[in-house]
Subunit: 310 residues, 2 copies
């Protein structure tokens, strides 16, 4: 392919992974928070990060999540030109709502658009996993899948990579609260047991099966009964101050369910209807307001589309 | 309620529990094999087993699975009369396709029909669990749920009892092979580990979530990819001679998937279309034909209705 001057501006959404009983497999996509990227073609081969706004991230392509994923895509083709990437980072790194995934997915989505979409969403996810790996020391698709596919996604298998798009009820909204403490993904991972009680595992898959059924039947009450994590939350919630208070406050405000977003510290809440999601937001802000912990909240419809061209 | 002479003849179907990745929660209902029962009202209070054909089972109400469940139902009401039950047992006890569940569910279904259906299906399952408990030393609903509700069922929770009806694709057929060896449920249970590796548990719930999605979308290929049991089959398959040969033979004959029915020794196979299910039957019969083990096979459409009045 030969050089042609082109540019694109995209929105790369924040995402929630490890959705309750769907630990390690189920995620969903947010709408009101995400990064923006501007990508343009350049006669100079390779990937060049030209601007980073919002947070302090490396400009070196091989150290930058967006750079690594873009490089993986570009190197799979035979191009006579390259790309320049501007990153307008809005998702705070380490917040637990897929900051690195938004970077990794955004660059490959934008470049794929500029090239006339040679790759499908699963292929884009594979390239993005290369970038995600340098942020989290493991190739995973927990946040990439919902960012790239939109809506709710279930990663059935990593090898081979298989991502299922799970329908979500129309009126489902998320409230996110990000208490601004630091949790190292490595720590969150190390504290999980290597073996779990059979009975907890059975409860977990009973709930995940029910949750998928609830999504297909738009059964909010069943969704509520299914949104439990018997396996991971009892451990990781220890790393998040006031987790149980936030969760109980959200449920008392009418939420369907709540859990740790990714490996934290953000906490997600799912509600039926925007009004309830906002009521939940008001209620859970009060929990951290009474502390010295800084926090940020977002209310969002489930983003069915995922990545967007702006 | 006062005595009125009435009788009913019903079909109580065989069922498959522990469907692959749905261990302990997912079951389905068969159509071509099941018990028959004739139940009539009698002025004499209580439950009276008057005839048992097919297999040698106790006539004493408190020792008979169908008697115990029927007694639980009748004792919850204030009746001036009782019921006589004839059991035409066709499902061999210990075969792994819900023989005791068919007994326990059949009597309560028949009596509920005679009484004008005072109880819903979940309530009937609860009564039937009392009978099932004397056969298996534990109250469970793995086989009762599909027998009473029909189709595929997911038992989300035992306390409180919550059973979900999962839609099945129209053209799904089961092949059952019953190698006539004895497996004690207690042995099958004792050999399972109390703790399982986290990664196997995650694979299991990824597959169950995918399986439920496949059922809703009639996606046979996804059904095929999801029908795996990473947790229990590696243990229990050791109790069933030639299990892996049967499974591989079935898959080679075009089946979607195969696994242990209940706690064995029966093996179930799921296929798209009657023709494939019959081809599978022919192929897997040859496995046991080459041995000294007696065996029996059944081919059945998924029985959406469950219990039937004849």
């Amino acid at each position: 392919m030969e050089f042609k001057a082109q540019d694109i501006r995209i929105f790369s959404p924040a995402t929630v992974a490890n959705v309750s009983c769907g630990f390690d497999v189920l995620g969903f996509c947010l709408d009101t928070i995400g990064d923006e990227m501007v990508v343009n073609t350049t006669p100079k081969k390779g990937i060049h990060i030209t601007k980073i706004e919002g947070f302090d991230l490396p400009f070196e392509t091989h150290k930058n999540v967006a750079g690594v994923s873009a490089k993986a895509l570009v190197e799979s083709l035979n191009l006579d030109f390259g790309f320049e990437i501007e990153i307008h980072k809005k998702i705070m790194p380490g917040s637990g709502i897929g900051s690195s995934a938004a970077s990794a997915a955004g660059s490959v989505f934008a470049i794929n658009e500029l090239l006339g979409k040679p790759f499908n969403k699963t292929e884009l996810t594979k390239f993005a996993m290369k970038g995600e790996a340098i942020a989290s020391q493991a190739e995973h698709a927990d946040n990439l899948a919902p960012a790239i596919f939109g809506g709710f996604t279930l990663v059935r298998s990593l090898k081979p990579l298989e991502i299922l798009e799970i329908p979500a009820p129309d009126n489902l909204f998320a409230t996110i609260i990000h208490p601004q403490i630091e949790i190292k993904t490595a720590d969150a991972r190390a504290m999980l047991p290597k073996h779990i009680p059979m009975e907890n595992a059975i409860a977990q898959w009973a709930n995940l099966g029910s949750l998928i059924h609830a999504m297909h039947t738009s059964d909010y009450e069943l969704l509520k009964r299914s949104l439990h994590d018997a396996v991971v939350e009892p451990y990781r919630s220890q790393l998040i101050p006031h987790f149980h208070e936030v969760k109980n406050t959200a449920l008392n405000a009418g939420a369907l369910g709540s859990g740790i977003s990714g490996s934290g510290p953000s906490i997600f809440v799912l509600s039926e209807g925007l009004e309830t999601a906002k009521k939940v937001e008001t209620a859970i802000r009060k929990v951290y307001k009474a502390t010295t912990i800084a926090y940020e909240t977002h209310v969002s419809k489930i983003n069915i589309q995922g990545m967007k061209v702006l």
